[in-house]
Symmetry: C3
Subunit: 307 residues, 3 copies
């Protein structure tokens, strides 16, 4: 998420009653969660498990509850999660929705729809959505917080731009899950086709991206902040958890599930019903729960049967 | 399902041309299927497999095709299933739907919507639905036969209160499935969040319940009469079959499936893609198809690979 | 797909600049893909893998890029896929959509809806759709290119008649997937019930068929050109890939996946979470990924655990 104006670590620290460790003059231009940072971003970390990845990331500053590095400026606060949420709420875009009825659909006044694009009845196109030219949006589609390229086809019942499934668990004073509100968006590139009743969540602070020419079958679930490359094929009922990256030309067959924060290498293929729990190498074929290289897996299965 | 007025076993027997075994004066206040009975309920049973659970349940009377106990009054009929369906049809609530268009949604005149609740366009809110305060109902949501607490969020495309998938197979005179019509409802407690394109079926005669603070990701399917406790997490594409109970703090990861009529103990965790076919103990972690304790399962898998 | 008028192999050849091999006088009345051909149909083949099945099929002529048989007339072209798509575009029905708002739904002027059928608000009923008598279509359902029998129930959020997930991969001049546009339809017979948020795709050139009395639970995905027999049961989150056939009385439990182009024999049962990758015999019970006969599979699993 970009900030409306560049600011400094010191200024942000004042807003959240923090203590600056390191150079408070560093300029901050955006906010992002640790797996999707760019230079200029401030991020947060509140668990030792992520200290290393956080310091190694492209971020320019860190909100944390203890000093974790001398390489980057940090703002120390008691509760980094809540401080980060407070800043998102403060800086996040809040176009007031103002939908109007058009041909049986509800389209926000701030949305932009390209030439020769057809929006069937029963759709909802939310604030600041941009849709390219020659697209077909079938009936009963919901699109929010999204930028969509030319010649994209979206089938009925699909939901683009829903919130991330992302909560922080508190045990005190009473046990509850606090929602990490979503401020990111969805970017769908040109020539993408998305089947019926798919769910494409928006990023928490960054973008969920579907690359040009990629095709999704029905009932596919794409989690928050996922990056899908060009010309990928995702068969029906595939699910991909948050912030995983699929490089170009990846093929996932029916009902495959992929865990969060992984990288699936270019052109790899995952056979139906597999569960991917670790990074996959480019060009190879995988199978099983957890997914292993298909040839090794088949050999193992044949041996199990022989005995 | 509550009856409109309390009645007696003898009176009900007259309605379905039955023969009373035991005390016909017992007062009946409700009807429920065998897995979800309370004191005062009449239930039915037509298969020996369920005799024991039926007699042991909290029900006050039983419609059956043979005498199965001396502990509770029974009404003997040829076809308990059809007799029960006849009574449901007779006593079931039938508010005549009368929807009006409000801000691009269709809301039944009998529905109640709390203060500061936002219902986006494209929704359908059916007869007798109650929605609490400060809720957000995203576009294209369908809600029927449901009572929803405060601060509940429901994302686009989700369907609350669909019919149970529940049929009786007849082989005579011609093979067919007869539908067990649904007369139950859905109860969603406060602070629940439900993702996009979820399906939450209503109970056949009882309630499907989602406990306070529980969060569902996208494309989750919750069967009829399921009880989910407080502060549970259900990741994307999870499916739970009818009348299963999840105690508090249960976590089901992506694409997990759970069979019907089970109990998953408090705080247990089921890893992604697992299939649960038996009760699970509290606090333990499970994995596999069928799901077993994760540590035992991993050991077994490692041994299979070693050979 | 039927042609508007019968024509000859020679006439079709002229349209696509082809060269006739064999008898150009053979009469052509329809077009279909190779797995769903009838007498009178012309089909296409562009991969050696399908030569045998193509020649053995009921088709009356073949568009191909080399002579493959002396038994049937062929039209030889450089690019059979593109030539076939060109003909589909030329001959395919194109009723111009003209929807009108009726009780909160959008119904095409060319659609026919039977007596005593209820269509709830928020639905879209497209061009040339036919719906029988005494049907219930719940809110927010989308139906296109479909013929639906009497007493059919379709729950909210379901999409009937979406496009096939069917692409041809080109590597030249730039890598891309070319869409095989859908010209087929969906046929749903009498007394079928379909749960919420299901996806029933239409055939590419033929029909997707759901037989009388069959019941689908929520979130079921039925691919293009699938044939489902009578009185089948498909539990929640089942997925069936294109052109597979289920004979009568087949039961698929929750989250089962079935590959394309298979035949599942009459009355066979597939247990929950299984993945079917080959034809199944009638009357047997299957389990596993890939699915095997359940008894053999359980034995194998028990042995693996013992060691």
């Amino acid at each position: 998420m970009q900030l409306p104006n560049p600011t400094t670590v010191a200024t942000i620290s004042t807003l959240i009653n923090g203590k600056v460790e390191g150079d408070g003059h560093v300029v901050i231009t955006g906010m992002n969660e640790v797996h999707r940072t760019n230079t200029g971003d401030i991020t947060f970390v509140d668990h030792k498990k992520f200290h290393r990845i956080c310091v190694a990331s492209d971020c320019s500053a860190i909100i944390t509850n203890e000093k974790i590095t001398t390489e980057k400026p940090q703002i120390i606060v008691d509760n980094p999660f809540s401080a980060f949420c407070f800043l998102l709420e403060k800086f996040g875009q809040k176009t007031k929705p103002e939908v109007v009825a058009v041909n049986g659909s509800f389209i926000d006044k701030s949305a932009k729809v390209g030439e020769s694009t057809i929006i069937h009845p029963g759709c909802y196109i939310g604030a600041d959505v941009v849709i390219g030219e020659q697209c077909i949006i079938y009936p009963n589609v919901t699109i929010q917080c999204a930028t969509i390229g030319d010649r994209v086809i979206i089938h009925s019942g699909t939901v683009v731009g829903g919130d991330a499934f992302y909560y922080k668990k508190w045990t005190q004073p009473i046990p509850k899950y606090e929602k990490f509100k979503s401020y990111g968006n969805v970017v769908i590139k040109e020539d993408v086709e998305i089947g019926s009743s798919c769910s494409i969540d928006r990023g928490v602070t960054a973008s969920t991206i579907i690359g040009a020419g990629t095709k999704l079958d029905n009932q596919v679930m794409v989690g928050h902040g996922v990056h899908i490359g060009k010309n990928c094929l995702l068969a029906a009922q595939v699910g991909i958890a948050g912030k995983t990256t699929l490089e170009d030309d990846v093929i996932l067959w029916g009902q495959v599930g992929v865990s969060k924060n992984l990288v699936l290498g270019r052109g790899c293929v995952v056979l139906a019903k597999s569960g991917v729990s670790k990074n996959l190498e480019p060009g190879k074929t995988y199978f099983g729960i957890p997914a292993e290289e298909a040839r090794a897996k088949w050999k193992e299965m044949a041996m199990a049967r022989r005995k």
